[in-house]
Every structure is written in structure tokens, then in C-alpha cells.
């Protein structure tokens, strides 16, 4: 039976990895990811989780060891943040290119310089093209649930791809939240033991990581691309299965009070909850607003997104990262391209906020809406604006 518990979200993440019976955890400490791997090493040290904890000497080696472990057929987990994720960069492409079902929790944090341990999405936004399935959590419960889902998706023989679950550093990792903790039998019923599609087995030798000459490189990339695209129905299927078993449902794109709303905020990660509260307040003030939350970032659910915004007149894209030298933040840039390809001509605004741990409050959302209303009335787009910059 599931228990109602109050737990720090990092610990819940680690407990979820334990429920998933991970075989290998290879990790290197970086704030704000540390509590996740500390708790996992405790679980291993106390014999509560039968796994190998490999305390590697860098994040690059963490992902390298994960690649080796997953290639050997073991259920493999790691976690990182910011500079650590950036140091893994090279390996992230290889993990997906070799089709290895590694699961990683990314405790989102800003990238240097200047060095900042606090939260934004600049780490993961620099890794958009790594070929991984990428999901975003907003609450501790979601982190826990998305971890189980991540292994289920990654190891599905129809997918065989690594999955990154994003949770905001500190804002999620270091807070204590109430949540439903499934018991082991429930977790086992959802996630069967990992049966690798291919592994480094002397009884059936396989060569992994071949040289891709020009005659095959394009085909290899096409295969990996289609694998990511084709993971979409499997991701949905396993969320539906999760809802059936645990009663908590997830969707690639989630909406809040979008019905008859003229203006929609588009958010990712923990900011979603603040935004929901702000939407409630703005609705009380008679504003026609709602919210769209991107749960599944890769593969991006185009049709779900278009359906979610179908009735709106204005969109406000909230970015938690910059894309220097381009007109807007990464989310806005991508979404505008999507709107264009779908022939949807509508007012869009982009606000970059919450960089390096800067608070984003309900008032900030109200302020953004006011600017949008003024700009829309005047027929001016807000291409991209950094919120709260001290001049």
C-alpha cells in the first residue's frame, strides 16, 4: 500500500530510484543534485538498495560509466546539474546514439559565468539536441512519479533511449513536500526487471560504437531520430498505465483554466505552480487568462500543444534561459517556429525570468499580462524581454 509521506524531494527522487531497483548508480557531486546521490549512497551502504554505487571522479566519467553499465545490461541511474551536465555534453549524444536506456535526474541550475548554484533552465536548454526523452516535473510527487515512468519508457524495447527528468534546483530539490510513496510491490507491478535488447555478452558478441562512414552516418542518425519521435506514443501509453495503477495522470502538455482564455502563459517546471496561483488571482480580477505547461519537452508534442492553445488569442512564453544572439529565449524560439509551420498567426510575447535563482512571483505574472495587454492593443509583439533587470 502506498504511504502518505513528507519528504525532501531529492530524497523522494532517490527513493524512487530504489523502488525501480537500479543496478548501478554512477555519479559525481554537484549542487543542487547532491542530496539525491547522497541518499542513494546511503541506501546502498545500508543494504536497502542492492546496487553498485560508482563514485566517479567527474560527470564526464559518470555518464561514461553509465554508458558502460547500461551496455552491460544493468538498470542505470545518474543525476547532475549545470556545469556537471555541461561536462557530460559529449557523452549525452553517445548515450542516445548507442540507444542505452539510462535515466538521469537533472536538478536544473544556471550555467557559469558568473558561477551560480541557483535554479534556472540554462543547463538543460543547452542540451536540447542530445536525442534524449526529456520531461519536466513541477512537484515532489511528480518527480517521484516521473522517475518510475522514465525507466519504464527508457527500457521499453520500442524506445531504448535515455530519459532525463528535470526538476528545479533548490525550488524542488531542497523542499519537503507531502507525497504518496508507492510500496515495492506496486512499483514492481509497474516496472518489470530490465531485459536489454542487446548487451555486452560474451555468449552473443556485439560491436557497439562503430565508425560511421559517410555511407552509414546519415542512416544511423535517421534511425535515432525516428526512435525519439516514435517514443511519443509509448510515453503516453506508460502515463496512461501509470494513471490506471496509481491514479495520478500525466499528459505531454497540461493545461489550467485554458477554457475560453484569451491569453495563455506557457511554462515549464516548478514555475508552473506559481503561475497557476497567479492565474487564479488574475481570473478573480476578471482577466481572461490560463496556463499551458510543457511536461514533455523531447520529443516535443506538437499536436498536443496546438490543441492546448487552439482557442487562445495571445501566448506568453516564459523562458528560464537565454539563447544569446537569437531573437528570443529557447522555448519561445521553438514555439514560434512551430506556430509558423502550423500556419497559426497569433500574438506572442516572450519573457525571460528567474535566471540564476531570481524569484518569480505571482505579481511578476500579473505584470507580464499587463505588458501583453498594452502591447497587443497597440499591435506590438514582445519579441523577448528580460524581467526584472536592474537598470
Amino acid at each position: 500500500m502506498a504511504r502518505r509521506v513528507g519528504l525532501e524531494v531529492s530524497l523522494a527522487c532517490a527513493e524512487a530510484v530504489k523502488l525501480c531497483n537500479a543496478d548501478v548508480i554512477a555519479a559525481y557531486p554537484i549542487t543542487p543534485q547532491t542530496h539525491i546521490v547522497e541518499h542513494l549512497s546511503e541506501l546502498v551502504a545500508d543494504g536497502h538498495l542492492d546496487a553498485e554505487f560508482v563514485p566517479v571522479e567527474s560527470e564526464h566519467s559518470a555518464m561514461s560509466a553509465c554508458v558502460g553499465s547500461a551496455a552491460a545490461g544493468a538498470r542505470t541511474f545518474t543525476s547532475s546539474s549545470a556545469q556537471g551536465l555541461a561536462l557530460m555534453h559529449e557523452m549525452l549524444f553517445i548515450a542516445s546514439g548507442l540507444r542505452l536506456p539510462i535515466v538521469m535526474a537533472v536538478a536544473n541550475r544556471s550555467l557559469s559565468a558568473p558561477i551560480s548554484i541557483w535554479n534556472d533552465h540554462s543547463d538543460i536548454m543547452a542540451e536540447r539536441d542530445i536525442g534524449w526523452v526529456q520531461t519536466f516535473a513541477e512537484t515532489g510527487q511528480e518527480v517521484l512519479d516521473l522517475m518510475l515512468h522514465a525507466f519504464k519508457v527508457a527500457e521499453d524495447p520500442r524506445v531504448c533511449l535515455p530519459v532525463a527528468v528535470n526538476l528545479d534546483g533548490f525550488i524542488l530539490t531542497h523542499v519537503i513536500e507531502p507525497m504518496e510513496m508507492p510500496d515495492q510491490a506496486e512499483a514492481d507491478a509497474y516496472l518489470p526487471p530490465f531485459v536489454p535488447s542487446q548487451s555486452l555478452d560474451p555468449a552473443a558478441p556485439v560491436s557497439m560504437g562503430m565508425v560511421g562512414m559517410p555511407e552509414v552516418y546519415t542512416e544511423a542518425k535517421k534511425a535515432a531520430l525516428v526512435a525519439l519521435e516514435d517514443s511519443y506514443p509509448v510515453i503516453k501509453e506508460h502515463w496512461e498505465g501509470f494513471a490506471e495503477q496509481f491514479g495520478r495522470s500525466y499528459k505531454p502538455i497540461e493545461t489550467y483554466r485554458t477554457e475560453d482564455a484569451d491569453t495563455l502563459f506557457v511554462t515549464m517546471g516548478s514555475l508552473g505552480e506559481t503561475c497557476m496561483t497567479a492565474v487564479d488571482e488574475m481570473r478573480q480580477d476578471g482577466k481572461s487568462v490560463g496556463q499551458v505547461r510543457i511536461r514533455l519537452w523531447r520529443p516535443f508534442p506538437d499536436e498536443d500543444f496546438m490543441a492546448a492553445i487552439a482557442g487562445a488569442k495571445n501566448l506568453i512564453f516564459i523562458d528560464r534561459a537565454l539563447s544569446p544572439g537569437v531573437a528570443a529565449g529557447p522555448v519561445a524560439t521553438e514555439m514560434r517556429a512551430l506556430l509558423y509551420t502550423k500556419g497559426k498567426n497569433m500574438f506572442t510575447a516572450n519573457f525571460v525570468c528567474g535566471l540564476g535563482g531570481r524569484d518569480v512571483t505571482r505579481t511578476d505574472f500579473a505584470g507580464m499580462l499587463a505588458k501583453v495587454e498594452a502591447a497587443a492593443a497597440a499591435g506590438n509583439e514582445i519579441t523577448c524581454e528580460m524581467v526584472g533587470v536592474k537598470e
Binding site: 554512477a26 542492492d50 567527474s58 566519467s61 560509466a65 554508458v67 558502460g68 560474451p202 556485439v206 560491436s207
Partner: protein
Amino acid sequence: MKTATEALKDFQKITPKKIPAVEPFSKGHRACQGCGEVLALRLVAKAVGMDMIAVSATGCMEIISSPYPQTAWEVPWIHVAFENAAAVASGIEAGRKALIRKGRIKDDGAKVVAFAGDGATADIGLQALSGALERGHDFTYVCLDNEAYMNTGIQRSSSTPYGAMTTTSPPGEKSKGQMTWKKNMPMIAAAHNIPYVATASPAWHVDLMNKVKKAVTIPGPAYIHIYSPCPTGWRCGPEVSIETARQVVKSRIFPLFEVIDGRFVLTRDIKKPIPVSEYFATQRRFSHLDENDIAYIQKRVDDDWDRLLSLCQVTADEPPVEEPPTGE
């Protein structure tokens, strides 16, 4: 520390008449004519046998063995990147350890062996190697040292010998070629207090294979540094590849030794060394060196040899390092 000593109690040597027939590394690979590195790799593979799981760093041996759809590997093999063969090997070892303990795969006794060139070992991969050795994974790391970045076109590495010409250490008005002394990787490996470290040359193929067999027999990490002639990069004839691997030992430039549980043992004493100039003569990478350069190199080679002999003497009499207490 007695790990190696105990594991080698009943060691069955490979003899010239009992060379393993298996070829876990197959023919049809695309190494250059006279490649001493691929011969070293072939000999390592023969010594380990078919129950090997091989990891390659990016480099010559990786590209010549795996242009899709042709693999020269008869055993499970993975290439991931340049700097992380040791980290990948540690992941494989950890994964298999967990799966065997949980009864999910059978304990087939497979040996995890990582192969990397000198650049992948002494330069870009040194951190990953150090980490894997320090953590004590049960694997063997083989450095195939051809003394420069040959795969990218003969650029110098920290393993390039003093005076050698490479494409990024060209001799000129203000340079004699490589201006730094070769990094001593076997000593760096030995400083990790691992059970077994050895150097080997393909010119002594039985010695090489026995060292590899010991390395994979001993539990825990082992490091083997193999001198691997590169006719293409060293500007010598392909036919003298193995003779070069012989001369480098006979000149005391590349001593053959083992470090077993911390004890240094010379495996081939060179009582009457040939002058280093004789070793240089067949390789155009050294052709620009003058008498003074050669005298300097000769002196340093002699000093290094003496130091190695001292280490052999000193460590021979040392009591073994105590094992940590065991138990729950």
C-alpha cells in the same frame, strides 16, 4: 597488499609452444602495413581469450577495427569516446557485478579489458584512468603506446620521447623537436597502489602475453603499458617494426618490468645495452638530433635505468602493505 601474489600462486604460463590459438581480434582489420600496435593488440587478445569484453578509446585501433559494417572484434566490444575507456570499463564492471550478484546474468568469468593509445591514456584520459584505478574496479587497462597522436596525423603527446619529430613538435631553428621528457605512465599507474602494473614489448611476445594473462587473472585493476611501434609516424620501414620494439628494450630506453603488489621486478635485465643512437638510426623522427642531444638522452636513459634498479632493490625487501580490516 598480497592480492597479486596470491592470485598468481598457481599461474599457468603461456609458453612458446603453447601459444593460444584463439584470435578474439580478427583479420581483415585496416591497420597500416607493419603496425606494431595492432600486433600488440592481437597478442593481448590471444592472451585474454574469448571471454573478453573489450573497450576501446577513440584512436587508431578503434577506427581500424570498426568501420561499419566490418568489425574485427569476435568478442563483445564497445567504443564510446577518446578520454573515457577506463570510465566505460568501470561501468561495465560495476553493471556486471550487480547483475551477477542479483542472479540476472551468470558469472561467466568474462574479463573487462580497456584499450587506449598513449594520448588517450597519458593526456586526455588520465583523469578517467586514475579514477578507475583508484576505485579498484576489476579490469585491465592496456595502453598501446605509439608515442604520438598517430590517428590524427602524428601530433605530439606527453608520451612522445624527447627529441622526436612530430607534426606539432617539428624541429626548427628554435626547437629540437619534442622538448619534454616522456611522461612515465607505468609509474603513475603504480602510484595508485594497484595489484599489478607491467610494461611489455611485442618483440617479446610470450612475455607480453604472460603479463596480460597475469593482469586478467589478478582481481582488481591492472595496468599494462605496451610499446607499440608505428612505422607511419616514426618514419621507419614497416618490416623493422618488431626489431624497433626489440632495440628500444635492448637500449634500456623502455625497460621491461612488473610491479606486483608494489614490488618492482625487472623482467628482462639488459646487461650490455646497445647505445640509444643505434635505436634512433632506423627512425627518421630522430634523424635531426646531433651528438649533444644524443649524449643528453643517453645520460638520462642510464640514470632512469639505475633508478629502476634501485626501486627493484628497495621494494624487494619491503614488507607487504597491510590489508584493511574486513567484516561487516
